[in-house]
């Protein structure tokens, strides 16, 4: 494994399977009365969050604490960043404090990559702009594998705002590595220009894709980023690309519904679909802690690696 986890493309098939298998063993820890392992004692993990996030930050914090690492939470609001400190100076401060790993979320695509040049510790990308969110892709793959078994040849459909979604990009890359066949379904206005080079199929017709999907992953409509007329109205979007009970009925019986959260109930996903037993949305949160434990263990648990790849 490489020293950093910045892109899902950094992971070879063996790396990805190692993370998933490690997570499978670590899942037991969450069911014990003592939910703690001594493995990362004396290591420091910094959560560096320049964008708002509850779920991901808490998930990383819980994962680090269950491995006995010391956790320092650093959010941009009310910190030196709001006084105008640059990313580089923040990085040098963390470096001076001896951070063994930095978990970073940043609004700018590529920020974790820059940070890796300034800090000696491992960098874990917790979402950068519209670029990537590799641990989300890992927990999604883990949730799928727990429900459906190995992912080779499984058909995964990702529906919605691919343009603004770092989750979609990381998922496409990781799922392709794991041998799944991915289809993106979105209005043409919500697909990035580069999508033609991604290892996946494109479709504009949700109803045609549903009957042959093993997994349907709904993406959040990012209202805060809807500054242009990407689609005529919320209702029209919901009618063409939302997952309601009728569409759920057209999916194969074994197929599962996923959503990275937070959901807009009634918009991209109907409430009854989100709460159905075929939805993995709550499991995804539990699995998030487990997969992040696996990532932190594999990055920090062994000897420090010299240089980049090993």
């Amino acid at each position: 494994m490489k020293r950093h986890l910045i892109s899902a493309a950094d992971l070879s098939r063996d790396d990805a399977l190692l993370i998933l298998d490690t997570a499978e063993e670590l899942a037991q820890v969450s069911q014990r009365s003592i939910k703690k392992l001594p493995t990362l004692r004396g290591r420091t993990v910094v959560n560096l969050f320049f964008e708002d996030s509850t779920r991901t930050r808490i998930s990383f914090e819980a994962a680090a604490k269950r491995l006995s690492a010391d956790v320092i939470n650093f959010s941009a609001k009310g910190s030196s960043v709001s006084k105008g400190e640059s990313l580089k100076d923040t990085a040098l401060t963390l470096q001076a404090m001896g951070a063994d790993a930095v978990v970073i979320r940043h609004g700018a695509s590529g920020a974790p990559h820059r940070l890796a040049e300034w800090v000696d510790g491992s960098i874990v990308n917790a979402g950068d702009g519209t670029h990537e969110h590799p641990t989300q892709a890992l927990l999604d793959a883990f949730s799928m594998r727990r429900r459906l078994g190995p992912l080779d040849g499984r058909r995964v459909t990702i529906v919605g705002d691919v343009l603004h979604s770092r989750v979609a990009r990381s998922n496409v890359l990781l799922l392709a590595t794991l041998g799944a066949e991915v289809t993106l379904v979105a209005p043409p206005t919500l697909l990035p220009v580069s999508v033609g080079s991604w290892p996946c199929e494109i479709s504009y017709d949700l109803d045609a894709v549903l009957p042959k999907s093993d997994v349907v992953m709904m993406l959040r409509v990012q209202r805060e980023r809807m500054n242009a007329a990407f689609f005529p109205s919320a209702r029209e979007y919901s009618r063409r690309y939302g997952l309601d009970r009728d569409r759920l009925g057209r999916m194969p019986d074994h197929a599962v519904v996923m959503h990275p959260g937070p959901m807009n109930r009634g918009m991209e996903i109907a409430a009854e679909v989100a709460d159905s037993p075929r939805s993995t949305i709550v499991e995804q949160v539990t699995n998030g802690v487990t997969i992040r434990m696996a990532v932190l263990y594999l990055l920090l648990g062994g000897a420090e690696l010299e240089g980049g790849a090993q």
Partner: protein
Amino acid sequence: MSDARPRPATRGPSEPGSTTSSPSVANVSRAVLEGPDIHRALTRIAHEILERTKGAQDVVLLGIPTRGVTLARRIGERVARFEGVQIPAGSIDITMYRDDLRLRPARPLGRTELPPDGIDGKIVVLVDDVLFSGRTVRAALDALGDIGRPRAVQLATLVDRGHRELPIRADYVGKNLPTAMSEKVKVFLAETDGRDAVVLIKEGDAK
């Protein structure tokens, strides 16, 4: 004790019993226990467990991956055959509790499978293939402490090769095997390696 585990990279040594060196490397290996010896040792350990625990009531066998799990299962089968008591056999992975994690890149985890009734109030017999420095057992004791509170913990090992670095001893020993620090002990079991043998390897050159 990692040197007690046969890795795929290490080819099975020469025919059991013979003391020939392989042509390329100057290693000399000698089988110290053959299949029937291992069977007898495990049979004796099973009898000893029954005797010491007065019928193996409340006993739980926990093997340390990989070979220890197989040995725990075999001991459990023997106890069931001798006295008709079914004692649960599981496994406990100790990787996350090792004291040498930072000396090597992060390693994959083994399986932990605990019996459904847990280990609280039970007599846990830890089972490992080779007892060497005692550090694996120390890690296993720490791991047990996070899982529950057994009434007592005992240790069974197929081979005790000496050179302890911690105050730890085994309650049930298949064979005491005096060794030099430079030697390696490898355990082969039919379930994982296709045959039963304990092999002592004398390293020709220090690597």
